[in-house]
């Protein structure tokens, strides 16, 4: 129940298209849901994060949609660019967990020019 299930494993999108990555969880105590972006040979970097008191958060071309009742959240990348090609990890943690982020298995996104 500590798992975060992420799909798809890989995604190919044309430049200008919308990339959508989905995550699902079981632990209702999770209250922080970040997305991290990782380029090859680099550490992950925080992209955007949401808490369950809102259903959507947008930062530039990146939007998190959060469905508390379904225990699902997703990342939407609008106007996808080749520079967005990276691996994306969703994650979750619960209050009092001492910061232990539970990561999804990652989605490798390729944006074709």
């Amino acid at each position: 129940q500590q798992q975060v299930k992420q799909s798809p494993q890989s995604l190919i999108v044309q430049k200008g298209g919308i990339s959508i990555i989905n995550c699902a969880y079981e632990n209702t105590a999770f209250d922080y849901f970040p997305w991290y972006q990782q380029f090859p040979g680099k550490g992950p970097a925080l992209l955007i994060a949401i808490r369950p008191d809102v259903s959507e958060k947008k930062e530039g071309r990146f939007t998190i949609s959060f469905n508390k009742s379904a225990k699902q959240f997703s990342l939407h990348i609008m106007d996808s660019q080749p520079g967005d090609s990276a691996t994306y990890f969703c994650a979750a943690s619960e209050k009092g967990s001492q910061g232990n982020l539970i990561f999804g298995k990652g989605t490798k996104l390729s944006v074709k020019p």
Binding site: G43, G99, N100, L101, G106
Partner: protein, 112 residues
């Protein structure tokens, strides 16, 4: 301006030969974490420090140890590396728990 610096970038060691990986931070963050990331997998938390308080994840092998001599530095010691310990080791920091993690670029460990 790198804020979380890991050295070395690549480390090759022999089976069973102790190895130490280092991490330093210029952010003055309270929390420092060590993650293990194997190829095409998610990062897995090994342990963390909140200031000097150490917390070991339940499934972290005893072979892995850590030291934090001061706020800026943290070390990962692998006492007897096995072939299965070959991975990217990521250091991360945060100001407090459940806040943005700042990752270093990692140390890629190879075990021969």
């Amino acid at each position: 301006d790198a804020m979380v610096i890991q050295n070395p970038r690549y480390q090759v060691t022999q089976f069973g030969k102790p190895v130490t990986l280092s991490c330093s931070q210029t952010l003055n963050h309270n929390v420092m974490y060590w993650y293990q990331q194997k190829s095409s997998q998610a990062p897995k938390l090994l342990f963390h420090y909140y200031d000097k308080d150490f917390n070991n994840e339940a499934d972290t092998p005893d072979n892995f140890q850590s030291r934090r001599p001061n706020t800026s530095f943290c070390f990962l010691d692998i006492r007897s590396p096995g072939l299965g310990d070959a991975a990217m080791y990521l250091c991360a920091t945060s100001r407090a728990f459940v806040e943005k993690l700042f990752f270093g670029s990692g140390t890629q460990l190879s075990v021969l």
